[in-house]
C-alpha cells in the first residue's frame, strides 16, 4: 500500500515530527550555562576563604548539568504510553523514598531533606515534583472538561496530599506550596468547574491558616513568615536575608557591577547566594539587563511549554506539559519574588540555576518529559487522541 511517493511523504512527516524544539532546548541550555558561571561567581570567594579550590562548586554544578542533559535527552525519548504505565511505580517509589528521609536522612539547617547517595546527597522532594505532575496528569486525563466529578478532585487532592504531607514534615513549606499551586493549575486545565476551583483555593487558604495556627511550623519558618508580613521588624535577624538580598539586587542598577565584581556577593552579605539566593548574584553582577534577560529565558521556556501543551497528542501529554510549565513558573515566581521581597523566604531553588544536583536533574527530567510530548505531537495541528 505504501507507494514510493507515499512513503516519502510519511518519511518527511516523521522527520518533521521528530524535530526537537530548538527554542526550548536553546533557552534551557543558556540557563544551564549561566548556572555554571553564576555558581562559580557566587561561591569562589567563599570557597577561597575556607581554603578550598575556588572552582569546587562550579565543577560540581557542571557535573550536575551533564547529568541533567542526559536526563533531558533520555526523558525526551520516553514513549507517552510507556510513561503512563510507569506512573504507579514512580509514585510508589517517591512516597517510599520520602518516608526513608525520616530514619535515614541528614539534617541540615533545621530540616531533614537529604539522603546520602554515594558522594552526593539526594533530595527526594525534588524528584517528587515531576512524579506528582505525572501522577496528576494520569489521574486527570480521563476527565471531561466542565464535568469533573468531585470524587476525581478528591482523589487528585489525596494523591498530591500524601507526598506533600511527607515533604511538609521534613519540613519544607515551600515545596508543599508549589504542589498546591501546580495541583490547582492542573485541575483547572483538566476541566474542573469554576465552583470546584474556588472551593479548592478556599480550602488551600484555610488549610494554610490552620497549619500556621496549629504551630506545626518550626520556629524558623514562622519567623520568616512573620518577618515577611512585618518588613520593618527585626532587621537584624529574620529580615536580614531579604534586606541584604534587596540591597544586593538594587545596587546592581541597570548594567550591573560586572561579572565577578559583585562586592555584596563576594563579601558574603547574602546568605545561600549560590543556592536559593542565586538570583541576587545575577542581578548584582549583570544588573537589570542581565536579570531581565534571565527572566526572559524562563518566559521563553514557559511559552514553549504552553505551545507544546496545546499540541500534545493526548490529554495526558497536555496535562503533563501544563504541569511542568506550572512547576517552572511557580518556582521562578516564588524564588525570584523572595529575593526581591515580594514573597516570604521559603527554601525553594531557582530551577536550572541554583547550585544543587537533585533540583537540576529533576527539573531537566521534567522538561525532558515535556519535550517528549513535543516529539510525539500530532502531525495534524489540533488533532488529539481521546485516551
Amino acid at each position: 500500500m505504501a507507494t514510493l511517493a507515499g512513503s516519502r511523504v510519511a518519511w518527511a512527516e516523521r522527520e518533521r515530527a521528530m524535530r526537537p524544539d530548538f527554542v526550548l532546548i536553546g533557552a534551557i541550555a543558556a540557563l544551564s550555562a549561566l548556572s555554571v558561571l553564576m555558581v562559580y561567581s557566587a561561591s569562589a570567594s567563599r570557597l577561597e576563604a575556607f581554603g578550598l579550590p575556588s572552582t569546587f562548586d562550579m565543577r560540581r554544578q557542571a557535573i550536575f548539568v551533564t547529568f541533567g542533559a542526559a536526563a533531558f535527552i533520555g526523558a525526551s525519548l520516553v514513549k507517552e504510553r510507556t510513561l503512563r504505565s510507569l506512573v504507579p511505580f514512580a509514585y510508589a517509589g517517591v512516597v517510599l523514598i520520602l518516608l526513608a528521609v525520616f530514619p535515614f536522612g541528614d539534617e541540615a539547617k533545621g530540616a531533614q531533606r537529604w539522603i546520602a547517595f554515594g558522594g552526593y546527597q539526594l533530595q527526594p522532594s525534588e524528584f517528587a515534583k515531576p512524579v506528582i505532575v505525572m501522577t496528576l496528569a494520569a489521574l486527570l486525563a480521563p476527565a471531561e472538561e466542565g464535568y469533573m466529578r468531585w470524587s476525581r478532585v478528591f482523589r487528585a487532592v489525596g494523591l498530591v496530599g500524601v507526598p506533600s504531607l511527607l515533604i511538609f514534615l521534613q519540613p519544607d513549606l515551600g515545596t508543599m506550596i508549589v504542589f498546591g499551586f501546580v495541583g490547582l493549575a492542573m485541575l483547572f486545565v483538566a476541566g474542573t468547574t469554576m465552583r470546584q476551583i474556588v472551593a479548592l483555593a478556599l480550602a488551600a487558604f484555610i488549610g494554610l491558616g490552620v497549619v500556621l495556627s496549629l504551630g506545626v511550623l518550626r520556629d524558623f519558618q514562622l519567623e520568616r513568615l512573620t518577618a515577611f508580613l512585618d518588613q520593618e521588624s527585626d532587621q537584624e535577624n529574620a529580615n536580614y536575608n531579604q534586606n541584604q538580598s534587596r540591597i544586593t539586587i538594587g545596587s546592581g542598577q541597570i548594567f550591573g557591577k560586572g561579572l565577578f565584581a559583585g562586592e555584596q556577593t563576594n563579601l558574603s552579605f547574602v546568605p545561600a547566594q549560590s543556592t536559593d539566593f542565586i538570583f541576587t548574584a545575577i542581578a548584582e553582577q549583570l544588573g537589570f539587563v542581565g536579570g531581565a534577560a534571565v527572566l526572559f529565558l524562563y518566559a521563553l521556556v514557559t511559552w514553549r511549554l504552553v505551545m507544546i501543551a496545546a499540541r500534545a497528542r493526548t490529554r495526558f501529554g497536555q496535562l503533563l506539559v501544563a504541569g511542568v510549565a506550572s512547576l517552572i513558573v511557580f518556582h521562578v515566581f516564588i524564588n525570584v519574588g523572595m529575593t526581591m521581597g515580594l514573597m516570604p523566604v521559603t527554601g525553594l531553588p531557582l530551577p536550572l540555576m541554583s547550585s544543587g544536583g537533585s533540583s537540576f536533574v529533576a527539573m531537566a527530567l521534567a522538561l525532558g518529559l515535556a519535550h517528549a510530548m513535543w516529539l510525539q505531537r500530532s502531525p495534524v495541528p489540533g488533532e488529539r487522541q481521546i485516551l
Binding site: 472538561e145 493549575a185 483547572f188 486545565v189 476541566g191 541584604q244 534587596r246 540591597i247 544586593t248 539586587i249 538594587g250 545596587s251 546592581g252 542598577q253 541597570i254 562586592e263 555584596q264 563579601l267 558574603s268 552579605f269 547574602v270 542581578a283 544588573g287 537589570f288 536579570g291 531581565a292 527572566l295 524562563y298 518566559a299 514557559t302 511559552w303 504552553v306 505551545m307 501543551a309 496545546a310 499540541r311 497536555q318 501544563a322 510549565a325 506550572s326 513558573v329 521562578v332 515566581f333 525570584v336 519574588g337 526581591m340 521581597g341 515580594l342 495541528p381 489540533g382
Partner: protein, 639 residues
C-alpha cells in the same frame, strides 16, 4: 493548533507572573538603584576613628597651663572574645582593675553582643603592660591610647583656661562635632575650641558580612590641636590669686561677709591681659572625668564656675570719679565756687549737702567722711575721694543742661564713661562677658516702661540720679575688667584697647595659625596735661598725706611707692546691713604705665582697707619680684 481557553488563561497567569517580577526588578535596580547602591557601599565600610589630642594652653613664658597626655584605656571587642571564655576574661579584668566582677559584667552587657567595651579609661602603665604581655589570657582585649586633658597648674587661672565637657545641643550644631566628642565649655577652652580641638584621625576598613576586616581602604592621622599662647604671666597670676585670697581672709577676719573676689592685671599699652582671677576657683581637671551633680551644685552655688573679673557686675563706686575728673579738666566743668585747677583750692567740703524740696522737706547727701574734707580742689578731691566735690560737678552739669540750660549735655558724664568702655562688652576673647550699665534719662524711662520695679516709678530722672552716677553708685554697674581697661585709657592718653587673653595660636611646627593683634576699641582725645594730672593725682592717692590708699602702701620703700598710682572705691551694697564692696584700681609705673590692676572684694568692706593692700602685694611682685605670702597688712578705712 488549538490552545483552548483554559490553557490560554493559564498562559495569561504565567505572563502576569513574569511581568510582576520584571517590574519589581525595575523598581529595585533602576528606580531605587542609587539608594541601594549607597546602602551596599555603606555596609561594606567600617570606620574606626581616633580622637585628636587637644592642643596645649601655655602662658606667655611657655609655662604649660593645659596639656594632653596619652592615657591607656582597656578596650574589649566582644566580637573577638569567644563566648565560653567571656566569664574568665571578665574575672581577670575585674581582678586587674580591682573592681567588682559584676560591674565589669554590666559594662559588657550594656555594650551588647559584639560591642566595644571600655573597661578602664585611664589605667596604670603597669596594668596596661600586663594585658599586653598576657595577650593570650585576654582574648579580644586591647590597649588603646586615648588623649586625656591635664591641667598641671591645678586651680591657677582656672577661669581663664576654662574647662571641657560633653557637647550640648548648641555645640552639636557646629560642624564636625559629635556626641562623643569633648568640647570646650568655658574660658579659652571654649573660645578657642575650634583651634584647640584638632581633627580626628580615622581608618577606613573594608569588611565582609561578618564585619571581618578584609583590607585597609584609607587612613587619616589624627591632627593634634594647635597650641594657644596666652598673654597671661603665670607668676603674676599666682600673685594676684594669692593676694585675692589674702584680701578675702582679711575681710572675713574683720567680720565682713566677703565671699568672692576678682582681679585683673592688664597692660595699658596694648590691652594684653597679664593676669585675671576669680575667687573661689575650681580645678579644671575635675571636669575631665565629669563632676558629680553634688560637686557641681556645691561649687556652682559658691560661684566657682563664674569668672567674676568679666561676669561680675559691681557698682564701680569712687573708682568712677575719675570719669568726672577727666570731664572737669577737658570740658572745664567745675563746681560753681571752685576756681580753675591751677588756682587756690576754693571748694569747701563740709561733709554734707542739703536740698530743699518743693514740699519744704529736706534731702541730705552725706560725704563718706562725716566731718568733710575741708578746702579741696579737683586734685585734692580725687586724692581724698571727696564726694561733695564730684556731686557739685554733677549738679553743675544738671543745672546747665536739658530743660534748664544749653551749656552742657545732660548725659555728658555718661558719654565720657562710655568712651572709656563702660556700659558695653569689651569684646575680650573669653565667653560670657557682661556689658555693665551706665544709666541715663533714656535708660531710666525705658526701665520705667519695660521693667517696672527695676527703678522708682514716682518721678522722672533727677539731678540726684546724676549725683549717684558721678560717684559710681546707683545703677552704675561695671566689671573689674571694664574698670581696669578704663584706667588703662586714662593713663595711656585716651586709647581704649580691646583686652586680649590670647597672644597667638601656633601649630606643632611653631607656625602661627592665628595672631591676636592689638586692636583699638576707641580713642578719645585727652590733652597731654590731663593725662599728666591724672597720673599725678593717682600717685597722690597712694603717696599723698590725705590719700585714701596711703596707709595700705605706707610700708613700701618710698622709691617704689612713688611709682604707684591708684584709686580706691567702696561700693555701698546694703546700707542697713553695712555691706560694702571694696575696690582698688592701681597703675605702675605711674610715669610709664605698664600694669593696670583692678581688684574687687565682693562684700569686703572698705576699698582702702581691704582691696588696696591686695593690690599692693601684686605690685610687690611686679615691681620687686617679691612672692606673695599669706600675710596681709590692712590699709586705712577709707572710701
Amino acid at each position: 493548533m488549538r490552545l483552548g481557553w483554559r490553557l490560554a488563561a493559564l498562559g495569561v497567569v504565567f505572563l502576569a507572573a513574569f511581568v510582576v517580577l520584571t517590574l519589581q526588578l525595575w523598581l529595585l535596580q533602576v528606580a531605587r538603584g542609587d539608594e541601594y547602591d549607597v546602602a551596599a557601599a555603606r555596609q561594606q565600610i567600617k570606620i574606626i576613628d581616633s580622637p585628636a589630642p587637644r592642643g596645649e594652653i601655655r602662658d606667655r613664658n611657655g609655662e604649660v597651663l593645659a596639656a594632653t597626655r596619652a592615657a591607656s584605656a582597656i578596650v574589649v571587642d566582644r566580637s573577638l572574645v569567644p563566648a565560653e571564655r567571656e566569664p574568665e576574661v571578665i574575672e581577670r579584668l575585674a581582678t586587674l582593675l580591682d573592681m567588682p566582677a559584676s560591674e565589669v559584667e554590666t559594662l559588657f552587657t550594656d555594650a551588647g553582643s559584639g560591642g566595644r567595651v571600655v573597661v578602664g579609661e585611664d589605667v596604670a602603665a603597669a596594668d596596661a603592660l600586663f594585658v599586653r604581655e598576657h595577650a593570650e589570657e585576654f582574648p579580644g582585649v586591647a590597649i588603646e591610647e586615648l588623649p586625656v586633658r591635664t591641667y598641671p597648674q591645678r586651680t591657677a587661672a582656672a577661669h581663664v583656661i576654662g574647662y571641657i565637657g560633653s557637647p550640648d545641643a548648641r555645640d552639636l550644631e557646629r560642624p564636625g562635632i559629635r556626641p562623643d566628642d569633648v568640647v570646650g565649655k568655658f574660658g579659652v577652652e571654649r573660645e578657642y575650641d575650634e583651634l584647640l580641638r584638632g581633627a580626628r584621625g580615622l581608618v577606613k576598613y573594608r569588611v565582609d558580612a561578618g564585619r571581618n576586616i578584609l583590607s585597609v581602604e584609607g587612613r587619616e592621622r589624627a591632627e593634634p590641636g594647635a597650641t594657644v599662647v596666652l598673654n597671661l604671666d603665670l607668676g603674676v597670676q599666682q600673685a594676684l590669686e594669692q593676694s585675692l585670697d589674702n584680701a578675702l581672709a582679711l575681710a572675713r577676719g574683720e567680720g565682713e561677709l566677703a565671699v568672692r573676689a576678682a582681679g585683673v592685671v592688664l597692660d595699658p599699652r596694648d590691652g594684653s591681659i597679664q593676669a585675671m582671677a576669680s575667687i573661689p576657683s575650681f580645678d579644671p581637671a575635675d571636669f575631665v572625668g565629669g563632676l558629680t551633680r553634688r560637686e557641681w551644685d556645691l561649687q556652682k552655688n559658691l560661684g566657682a564656675f563664674n569668672n567674676f573679673a568679666i561676669q561680675g557686675l559691681y557698682p564701680p563706686a569712687s573708682t568712677f570719679k575719675s570719669v568726672a575728673y577727666v570731664m572737669a579738666l577737658e570740658d572745664g566743668i567745675f563746681p560753681d565756687e571752685a576756681a580753675a585747677p591751677s588756682a587756690e583750692a576754693g571748694f569747701f567740703c563740709s561733709g554734707l549737702v542739703e536740698f530743699r524740696l518743693g514740699d519744704e522737706s529736706r534731702q541730705t547727701f552725706r560725704d563718706w567722711k562725716p566731718e568733710g574734707h575741708g578746702l579741696v580742689d579737683l586734685h585734692g578731691a580725687l586724692e581724698q575721694s571727696c564726694d561733695l566735690y564730684f556731686w557739685s560737678i554733677a549738679l553743675r552739669v544738671w543745672s546747665e543742661s536739658g530743660a534748664r540750660g544749653e551749656l552742657y549735655d545732660e548725659a555728658q558724664i555718661q558719654e565720657w564713661a562710655r568712651a572709656m568702655g563702660f556700659g558695653a562688652e569689651s569684646s575680650i576673647d573669653l565667653p560670657f562677658e557682661q556689658a555693665g550699665l551706665v544709666p541715663d534719662r533714656e535708660w531710666f524711662e525705658r526701665a520705667q516702661r519695660e521693667s517696672p520695679g527695676r527703678v522708682r516709678s514716682d518721678s522722672t530722672w533727677l539731678g540726684g540720679d546724676v549725683m549717684n552716677v558721678v560717684i559710681g553708685q546707683g545703677d552704675v554697674l561695671a566689671t573689674p575688667l571694664q574698670v581696669a581697661n578704663a584706667y588703662a585709657s586714662l593713663v595711656n592718653g585716651g586709647t581704649v584697647w580691646r583686652p586680649r587673653i590670647v597672644d597667638r595660636v601656633v601649630d606643632r611646627e611653631g607656625g602661627e595659625v592665628f595672631v591676636n593683634q592689638p586692636r583699638e576699641l576707641g580713642i578719645y582725645e585727652l590733652a597731654p596735661s590731663t593725662t599728666a594730672f591724672m597720673r599725678e593725682d593717682l600717685r597722690r592717692v597712694v603717696n599723698g598725706d590725705n590719700g585714701t590708699a596711703r596707709v595700705a602702701f605706707s610700708t613700701l620703700p618710698a622709691g617704689v611707692r612713688n611709682q604707684i598710682g591708684g584709686k580706691t572705691g567702696t561700693a555701698e551694697i546694703d546700707k542697713s546691713k553695712d555691706i560694702n564692696t571694696a575696690w582698688f584700681v592701681g597703675v605702675a609705673p605711674i610715669d610709664d604705665p605698664q600694669h593696670v590692676i583692678a581688684i574687687v572684694v565682693d562684700g569686703g568692706g572698705s576699698g582702702g582697707r581691704i582691696a588696696a593692700p591686695a593690690a599692693r602685694q601684686v605690685f610687690e611682685y611686679l615691681l620687686l619680684g617679691q612672692e606673695v605670702g599669706d600675710e596681709i597688712i590692712p590699709g586705712e578705712e577709707a572710701d
